[in-house]
């Protein structure tokens, strides 16, 4: 019987330590030249007396566990130092220990507002790695899934941004619409939020009967809510006054900082993965991509609002062209045999056993397939060594890169503007920290 003096912690000679050669991580003081431009003080008589305040990580308006340390000169922000990592769970590490289909629930949880979109992005990447072409019905269903996902993500952004800036009612309107989409997703995938709806080679299941009618009803009624929000906010003096001219990023800056998605488009750069590097036959759908001019918070608001309308347009077209046929591709390397065969025939049972216990194995290679998530360019980078578990599963996080520009965006603005700018980036900490 082991006693209390037996060592239970494992002592390993670490190949790498957590500290640098001098015992500390290498860092350069934040006042280093060239890092941030010098800022003229707004209150000359208090010159030199700056205040340091801390927002977060627990704070209603930081959209998750983000910590911002602000250096203030009066109410003007001189410098902003964001700290992330409060939601780091080791997704990429876990992915190396799971089979390709088993990783799908993790893709739900990182950008949890765009779960079905993430599932589909993952499946697209994995299918390219396996060299599988999906069926036509699956393609259209995936477009429907991605656009529904985009709608619910933008609705959360809308609701929480309105709350941050002070308007409480659109939060309730947008969450009411989300409930309608939740009903659709729940009927299809079984879950409201964390859908796990895609598989390598197909989807979790085909849509049930009557689902397309429910989707049609949603498409017909949803634009009314958008009109309501537009009527309330777009020309509202308070809203415009609080959002115009804030957090401006010029197109060159935006590109250099790696911004993608509505952040980049609001600054005037017309880059949308659906148009420039299409997937799922997006080039055959008739939709526009809104591009802003000023790159401020108001433009980002308009861009996302218009994207909601365009998503409805795509949904409409996709629903009209939904073909019949199987959802899953007929490829025994990845698709399980039908249950009736697996329980009666020996070969199918062994096939089922191998696929579940060992998992599908792709050839050696690597892929990166980007998609347009509501936050920006999202992609999963897979590296395979021929085994059932990936060697490296990397998530390219759009919110992470978008957030890294926040010190640039809030310089010179007031404290309350920081909250508005933070809301306009549309961050999801699950994706930032992974």
């Amino acid at each position: 019987m082991p006693t209390m003096t037996d060592k239970r912690t494992i002592e390993v000679a670490l190949s790498t330590t957590g500290l640098g050669p001098d015992g500390k991580p290498q860092r350069i003081p934040l006042g280093a030249e060239g890092l941030m431009s010098p800022h003229a003080p707004a209150e000359p008589e208090f010159e030199g007396e700056h205040m340091l305040i801390n927002i977060g990580p627990q704070h209603p308006a930081t959209h998750g566990v983000l910590r911002l340390v602000l250096e203030l000169d009066g109410e003007t922000v001189v410098r902003c130092i964001p700290h992330v990592g409060y939601l780091h769970c080791g997704f990429e590490k876990i992915g190396e220990y799971r089979q390709y289909n088993q990783i799908i629930p993790w893709t739900d949880r990182e950008d949890y507002l765009n779960s079905l979109g993430n599932n589909i992005a993952y499946a697209l990447g994995a299918e390219r790695l396996f060299g599988i072409e999906i069926t036509e019905r699956c393609k259209v269903l995936r477009v429907i899934g991605m656009e529904l996902s985009r709608i619910i993500s933008h609705l959360v952004w809308l609701g929480t941004t309105c709350i941050d800036i002070g308007a409480f009612t659109p939060f309730l309107w947008s969450f009411q619409e989300r409930e309608n989409v939740y009903n659709l997703l729940e009927r299809w995938t079984g879950a409201r939020l964390t859908t796990s709806g895609a598989r390598v080679g197909g989807m979790i299941a085909d849509v049930p009967e009557g689902w397309t009618d429910q989707l049609r009803h949603f498409i017909d009624t949803f634009p009314k809510t958008l009109d309501q929000v537009e009527r309330m906010l777009n020309k509202n003096a308070i809203w415009v006054g609080r959002t115009v001219g804030l957090g401006v990023m010029t197109p060159q800056e935006a590109l250099n900082y790696g911004l993608t998605g509505p952040m980049l488009r609001a600054s005037g750069v017309a880059y949308d993965v659906r148009k420039d590097f299409p997937y799922l036959d997006y080039e055959t759908y008739d939709f526009d991509v809104p591009v802003g001019t000023n790159g401020d918070v108001y433009d980002r608001f308009l861009v996302r609002q218009e994207e909601l309308r365009q998503s409805v347009r795509i949904l409409d077209q996709a629903l009209k062209r939904l073909p019949d046929g199987p959802v899953n591709v007929d490829d025994p390397r990845v698709i399980l045999p039908p249950k009736s065969k697996a329980t009666s025939e020996m070969e199918s049972m062994i096939h089922h056993f191998k696929l579940v216990m060992e998992g599908p194995r792709p050839p050696i290679g690597e892929v990166y397939v980007p998609i347009e998530s509501p936050k920006g360019e999202k992609g999963y980078y897979f590296v395979s060594d021929g085994t059932a578990k990936p060697v490296r599963w990397r998530i390219r996080p759009p919110s992470f890169v978008n957030l890294s520009a926040i010190p640039k965006m809030v310089e010179g603005h007031l404290l309350s503007d920081v909250i508005a700018i933070n809301a306009s980036i549309d961050i999801v900490m699950g994706e930032i920290d992974r």
């Binding site: 239970r8 998750g64 080791g90």
Partner: protein, 209 residues
């Protein structure tokens, strides 16, 4: 009341249903508990997906306001219930403990979701395997994320728990620090040893096939 290292044996179990507490005290108990249970102001410590379901529960369709949780208090000083919604990595652990310490008594904790209750699907180097390793929890709500109805069931369970509190129980609000000399104390090394066989199946901790 307050932080103590060891319960005073005289008051350790001081609830005696046979005692002549009196009609007034029982009515007062009921009144106080009724007031507390029906106006629990939550402090949503929302981190991840469960926070979105919490927001959906607070929104129009499921409406937490009818349970008295009208006012979401994001300041721990003005709240009653800490609803930890989402996974808590180790980096966030001191923050959670600090927030809990900043809350005033009486306070309760609801652990919402699988990740807050036990670490959920994140059995990795970075995630605390359950917030009950950090703060004491009253109600656990399973689910990933729990449906709004599930969260409401958990809240109603907490309300029932609150209704069962008694003023005569003087040790109710004590916060204990683990006392190594107590016979109930289990040292961490022994806890490690006991928990070793548990956790995910061996299959899922192997990277190579």
């Amino acid at each position: 009341m307050g932080l103590i290292t060891q319960p005073d044996p005289a008051t350790a179990v001081s609830y005696n249903p046979q005692s002549q507490e009196g009609w007034i005290t029982t009515r007062l108990d009921f009144l106080v508990n009724w007031g507390r249970a029906n106006s629990l102001w939550p402090m949503p410590f929302g981190t991840a997906c469960c926070a979105i379901e919490f927001m959906a529960t607070a929104a129009s369709k499921f409406d937490l306001a009818r349970f008295g949780m009208e006012r979401m208090s994001f300041s721990p000083r003005q709240s009653d219930v800490l609803i930890c919604a989402g996974r808590v990595p180790f980096k966030l652990a001191p923050v959670l403990r600090r927030i809990y310490q900043q809350m005033h008594q009486p306070k309760w904790v609801i652990s919402m979701g699988a990740c807050a209750s036990s670490g959920g699907m994140f059995d990795s180097y970075a995630v605390a395997q359950g917030i009950d390793t950090i703060i004491p929890v009253d109600v656990y709500v399973p689910g990933c994320p729990p449906r709004p109805e599930g969260l409401i069931y958990g809240i109603m369970m907490l309300q029932k728990k609150v209704m069962q509190e008694r003023m005569s129980n003087e040790s109710l609000r004590d916060e204990f620090i683990a006392d190594p000399t107590s016979q109930l104390y289990i040292p961490p090394s022994r806890i490690d040893e006991l928990s070793e066989p548990f956790g995910n199946s061996v299959h899922q901790t192997r990277s190579a096939p």
